[in-house]
Symmetry: C2
Subunit: 119 residues, 2 copies
DNA sequence: CCGCATCCACCCGGATACTG
DNA sequence: CAGTATCCGGGTGGATGCGG
Protein backbone atom coordinates (compact mmCIF):
# COMPACT_ATOMS: atom_id res chain seq x y z
CA UNK A 1 0.00 0.00 0.00
CA UNK A 2 1.56 3.30 -1.09
CA UNK A 3 0.53 6.57 0.51
CA UNK A 4 -0.38 9.52 -1.72
CA UNK A 5 -1.50 12.51 0.30
CA UNK A 6 -4.25 11.00 2.43
CA UNK A 7 -4.89 8.10 0.12
CA UNK A 8 -3.51 4.61 0.04
CA UNK A 9 -3.15 2.68 -3.20
CA UNK A 10 -1.82 -0.68 -4.25
CA UNK A 11 1.48 -0.46 -6.04
CA UNK A 12 0.10 -1.94 -9.23
CA UNK A 13 -2.81 0.48 -9.31
CA UNK A 14 -0.39 3.39 -9.15
CA UNK A 15 1.74 2.05 -11.95
CA UNK A 16 -1.29 1.70 -14.16
CA UNK A 17 -2.87 5.04 -13.27
CA UNK A 18 -0.20 7.61 -12.60
CA UNK A 19 -2.66 10.46 -13.10
CA UNK A 20 -4.12 9.88 -9.67
CA UNK A 21 -1.14 11.67 -8.15
CA UNK A 22 -2.21 14.96 -9.62
CA UNK A 23 -5.86 14.57 -8.72
CA UNK A 24 -5.06 13.52 -5.19
CA UNK A 25 -2.74 16.45 -4.70
CA UNK A 26 -5.17 19.06 -5.98
CA UNK A 27 -8.00 17.52 -4.05
CA UNK A 28 -5.84 17.85 -0.97
CA UNK A 29 -5.10 21.52 -1.57
CA UNK A 30 -8.76 22.34 -2.15
CA UNK A 31 -10.20 20.18 0.58
CA UNK A 32 -11.84 22.33 3.18
CA UNK A 33 -15.33 23.66 3.37
CA UNK A 34 -14.58 27.22 2.26
CA UNK A 35 -11.30 27.11 0.39
CA UNK A 36 -12.48 27.50 -3.17
CA UNK A 37 -14.87 30.26 -2.14
CA UNK A 38 -11.97 32.10 -0.51
CA UNK A 39 -9.80 31.72 -3.60
CA UNK A 40 -12.62 32.88 -5.82
CA UNK A 41 -13.17 35.89 -3.57
CA UNK A 42 -9.51 36.87 -3.84
CA UNK A 43 -9.70 36.68 -7.61
CA UNK A 44 -11.18 40.14 -8.10
CA UNK A 45 -8.82 41.87 -5.71
CA UNK A 46 -6.87 41.44 -2.50
CA UNK A 47 -8.99 41.39 0.63
CA UNK A 48 -8.67 42.10 4.29
CA UNK A 49 -9.42 39.52 6.91
CA UNK A 50 -12.68 41.10 7.93
CA UNK A 51 -13.91 41.35 4.35
CA UNK A 52 -13.42 37.63 3.87
CA UNK A 53 -15.13 37.04 7.18
CA UNK A 54 -18.15 39.08 6.11
CA UNK A 55 -18.24 37.37 2.74
CA UNK A 56 -18.35 33.90 4.30
CA UNK A 57 -21.11 35.12 6.50
CA UNK A 58 -21.50 32.11 8.75
CA UNK A 59 -17.90 31.05 9.20
CA UNK A 60 -16.37 31.28 12.65
CA UNK A 61 -13.16 33.18 13.29
CA UNK A 62 -11.31 30.07 14.32
CA UNK A 63 -12.30 28.18 11.20
CA UNK A 64 -11.47 31.06 8.89
CA UNK A 65 -8.03 31.46 10.37
CA UNK A 66 -7.39 27.75 10.05
CA UNK A 67 -8.38 27.69 6.39
CA UNK A 68 -6.25 30.75 5.66
CA UNK A 69 -3.23 29.22 7.37
CA UNK A 70 -3.58 26.05 5.36
CA UNK A 71 -3.90 27.94 2.11
CA UNK A 72 -0.84 29.94 3.04
CA UNK A 73 1.10 26.83 3.96
CA UNK A 74 0.26 25.29 0.61
CA UNK A 75 1.46 28.43 -1.14
CA UNK A 76 -1.94 29.38 -2.51
CA UNK A 77 -2.32 32.75 -0.81
CA UNK A 78 0.03 35.36 0.55
CA UNK A 79 -0.47 37.09 3.88
CA UNK A 80 0.69 40.68 4.25
CA UNK A 81 0.64 42.41 7.61
CA UNK A 82 0.60 46.18 7.85
CA UNK A 83 2.10 47.18 11.19
CA UNK A 84 -0.56 49.73 12.04
CA UNK A 85 -2.86 50.24 14.95
CA UNK A 86 -5.36 48.77 14.61
CA UNK A 87 -3.69 45.99 12.64
CA UNK A 88 -4.44 45.41 9.00
CA UNK A 89 -3.87 42.11 7.22
CA UNK A 90 -4.37 41.64 3.51
CA UNK A 91 -4.61 38.33 1.69
CA UNK A 92 -3.75 37.89 -1.96
CA UNK A 93 -3.36 35.02 -4.42
CA UNK A 94 0.07 33.75 -5.33
CA UNK A 95 0.78 32.58 -8.87
CA UNK A 96 0.15 29.05 -7.69
CA UNK A 97 -3.16 30.25 -6.32
CA UNK A 98 -4.11 32.06 -9.50
CA UNK A 99 -3.59 28.86 -11.41
CA UNK A 100 -6.46 27.38 -9.43
CA UNK A 101 -8.86 29.96 -10.81
CA UNK A 102 -9.36 28.06 -14.05
CA UNK A 103 -10.63 25.13 -11.99
CA UNK A 104 -12.89 27.28 -9.88
CA UNK A 105 -14.24 29.12 -12.89
CA UNK A 106 -15.21 25.79 -14.37
CA UNK A 107 -16.91 24.86 -11.11
CA UNK A 108 -18.84 28.09 -11.25
CA UNK A 109 -20.09 27.55 -14.79
CA UNK A 110 -20.86 23.90 -14.10
CA UNK A 111 -22.93 24.84 -11.09
CA UNK A 112 -24.66 27.57 -13.01
CA UNK A 113 -25.65 25.02 -15.61
CA UNK A 114 -26.78 22.18 -13.39
CA UNK A 115 -27.49 23.62 -9.98
CA UNK A 116 -30.83 24.90 -8.88
CA UNK A 117 -31.21 28.50 -9.83
CA UNK A 118 -31.77 31.10 -7.12
CA UNK A 119 -35.28 32.49 -7.12
CA UNK B 1 -29.02 34.45 6.35
CA UNK B 2 -29.78 32.60 3.11
CA UNK B 3 -29.00 28.92 2.73
CA UNK B 4 -27.13 27.74 -0.37
CA UNK B 5 -26.42 24.03 -0.25
CA UNK B 6 -24.61 23.74 3.07
CA UNK B 7 -23.57 27.36 3.21
CA UNK B 8 -25.21 30.38 4.76
CA UNK B 9 -24.76 33.85 3.32
CA UNK B 10 -26.01 37.29 4.10
CA UNK B 11 -28.57 38.50 1.61
CA UNK B 12 -26.45 41.43 0.47
CA UNK B 13 -23.43 39.20 -0.08
CA UNK B 14 -25.46 37.02 -2.40
CA UNK B 15 -26.77 39.94 -4.38
CA UNK B 16 -23.26 41.22 -4.94
CA UNK B 17 -21.70 37.83 -5.71
CA UNK B 18 -24.15 35.63 -7.52
CA UNK B 19 -21.42 33.36 -8.81
CA UNK B 20 -21.14 31.70 -5.44
CA UNK B 21 -24.23 29.67 -6.25
CA UNK B 22 -22.42 27.76 -8.94
CA UNK B 23 -19.29 27.17 -6.91
CA UNK B 24 -21.23 26.05 -3.87
CA UNK B 25 -23.29 23.63 -5.93
CA UNK B 26 -20.33 22.02 -7.67
CA UNK B 27 -18.40 21.86 -4.43
CA UNK B 28 -21.37 20.02 -2.97
CA UNK B 29 -21.51 17.49 -5.77
CA UNK B 30 -17.78 16.78 -5.57
CA UNK B 31 -17.50 16.80 -1.80
CA UNK B 32 -16.49 13.39 -0.60
CA UNK B 33 -13.09 11.86 -0.18
CA UNK B 34 -13.14 9.67 -3.29
CA UNK B 35 -15.67 11.19 -5.65
CA UNK B 36 -13.42 12.82 -8.19
CA UNK B 37 -11.20 9.76 -8.28
CA UNK B 38 -14.25 7.63 -9.00
CA UNK B 39 -15.40 9.95 -11.77
CA UNK B 40 -11.93 10.01 -13.26
CA UNK B 41 -11.81 6.22 -13.14
CA UNK B 42 -15.08 5.95 -15.04
CA UNK B 43 -13.77 8.28 -17.72
CA UNK B 44 -11.89 5.62 -19.63
CA UNK B 45 -14.66 3.06 -19.55
CA UNK B 46 -17.53 1.75 -17.49
CA UNK B 47 -16.50 -0.22 -14.45
CA UNK B 48 -17.85 -2.90 -12.20
CA UNK B 49 -18.18 -2.42 -8.48
CA UNK B 50 -15.22 -4.60 -7.63
CA UNK B 51 -12.97 -2.86 -10.12
CA UNK B 52 -13.65 0.47 -8.46
CA UNK B 53 -13.10 -1.16 -5.11
CA UNK B 54 -9.71 -2.48 -6.17
CA UNK B 55 -8.77 0.85 -7.71
CA UNK B 56 -9.50 2.73 -4.48
CA UNK B 57 -7.42 0.17 -2.68
CA UNK B 58 -8.07 1.25 0.87
CA UNK B 59 -11.74 2.22 0.73
CA UNK B 60 -14.18 0.16 2.72
CA UNK B 61 -17.23 -1.43 1.16
CA UNK B 62 -19.58 0.71 3.17
CA UNK B 63 -17.91 3.94 2.19
CA UNK B 64 -17.71 3.05 -1.46
CA UNK B 65 -21.38 2.18 -1.62
CA UNK B 66 -22.25 5.45 0.08
CA UNK B 67 -20.20 7.52 -2.34
CA UNK B 68 -21.68 5.69 -5.33
CA UNK B 69 -25.21 6.22 -4.05
CA UNK B 70 -24.61 9.94 -3.62
CA UNK B 71 -23.12 10.28 -7.08
CA UNK B 72 -26.09 8.41 -8.46
CA UNK B 73 -28.54 10.60 -6.57
CA UNK B 74 -26.87 13.72 -7.96
CA UNK B 75 -27.16 12.32 -11.45
CA UNK B 76 -23.41 12.00 -12.01
CA UNK B 77 -23.25 8.26 -12.57
CA UNK B 78 -25.63 5.57 -13.76
CA UNK B 79 -25.96 2.21 -12.09
CA UNK B 80 -26.82 -0.79 -14.26
CA UNK B 81 -27.65 -4.13 -12.69
CA UNK B 82 -27.31 -7.34 -14.69
CA UNK B 83 -29.62 -9.95 -13.18
CA UNK B 84 -27.12 -12.77 -13.22
CA UNK B 85 -25.69 -15.10 -10.65
CA UNK B 86 -23.34 -13.98 -9.34
CA UNK B 87 -24.63 -10.41 -9.66
CA UNK B 88 -22.92 -7.88 -11.87
CA UNK B 89 -23.26 -4.14 -11.46
CA UNK B 90 -21.72 -1.64 -13.83
CA UNK B 91 -21.28 2.05 -13.21
CA UNK B 92 -21.00 4.63 -15.97
CA UNK B 93 -20.91 8.39 -16.30
CA UNK B 94 -24.00 10.31 -17.30
CA UNK B 95 -23.71 13.39 -19.50
CA UNK B 96 -23.83 15.51 -16.38
CA UNK B 97 -21.01 13.41 -15.01
CA UNK B 98 -18.94 13.67 -18.17
CA UNK B 99 -19.17 17.43 -17.92
CA UNK B 100 -17.21 17.19 -14.69
CA UNK B 101 -14.25 15.65 -16.48
CA UNK B 102 -12.98 19.01 -17.66
CA UNK B 103 -12.70 20.07 -14.03
CA UNK B 104 -11.00 16.86 -12.98
CA UNK B 105 -8.60 16.99 -15.90
CA UNK B 106 -7.57 20.44 -14.79
CA UNK B 107 -7.06 19.14 -11.27
CA UNK B 108 -4.87 16.41 -12.66
CA UNK B 109 -2.64 18.77 -14.64
CA UNK B 110 -2.50 21.24 -11.77
CA UNK B 111 -1.37 18.53 -9.39
CA UNK B 112 1.14 17.26 -11.90
CA UNK B 113 2.59 20.72 -12.10
CA UNK B 114 2.70 21.62 -8.41
CA UNK B 115 2.48 18.40 -6.44
CA UNK B 116 5.45 16.37 -5.37
CA UNK B 117 6.43 13.99 -8.07
CA UNK B 118 6.38 10.27 -7.37
CA UNK B 119 9.85 8.81 -7.11
C1' DC C 1 -8.56 44.45 14.03
C1' DC C 2 -6.80 40.14 13.84
C1' DG C 3 -5.77 36.68 15.71
C1' DC C 4 -4.64 32.11 19.09
C1' DA C 5 -6.10 28.33 22.52
C1' DT C 6 -9.16 25.44 24.13
C1' DC C 7 -12.93 22.60 24.18
C1' DC C 8 -16.80 20.45 21.97
C1' DA C 9 -20.31 18.53 18.51
C1' DC C 10 -21.09 16.47 14.57
C1' DC C 11 -20.55 13.79 10.57
C1' DC C 12 -17.83 11.25 7.34
C1' DG C 13 -15.62 7.35 6.54
C1' DG C 14 -13.69 2.71 8.59
C1' DA C 15 -14.56 -1.96 10.52
C1' DT C 16 -17.22 -5.81 11.05
C1' DA C 17 -20.84 -9.04 10.43
C1' DC C 18 -24.46 -10.60 7.74
C1' DT C 19 -27.61 -11.36 3.07
C1' DG C 20 -29.78 -12.18 -1.93
C1' DC D 1 -20.49 -10.39 -6.39
C1' DA D 2 -22.46 -6.60 -4.53
C1' DG D 3 -24.31 -5.05 -1.44
C1' DT D 4 -26.97 -3.64 3.76
C1' DA D 5 -26.85 -2.79 8.87
C1' DT D 6 -24.64 -1.35 12.76
C1' DC D 7 -21.43 0.60 15.58
C1' DC D 8 -17.37 3.34 16.31
C1' DG D 9 -13.18 6.58 16.04
C1' DG D 10 -10.95 10.68 14.19
C1' DG D 11 -10.84 15.04 12.16
C1' DT D 12 -13.01 19.27 10.72
C1' DG D 13 -15.35 23.10 11.72
C1' DG D 14 -18.13 25.81 15.54
C1' DA D 15 -18.17 28.43 20.05
C1' DT D 16 -16.07 30.91 23.48
C1' DG D 17 -12.63 33.50 25.94
C1' DC D 18 -8.27 35.85 25.98
C1' DG D 19 -4.20 38.68 23.88
C1' DG D 20 -1.08 41.95 20.93
Amino acid sequence: MVKICNYGFDQEVIEEHRDIYGIAYTQNVLSGRYKNLIIWYLKEKNRRYNHIKKFLSDISQGSLTKQLRELEKDGIIKRTVYPEVPPKVVYSLTDKGKDLLSIIDLMESYGKRYGEQPK
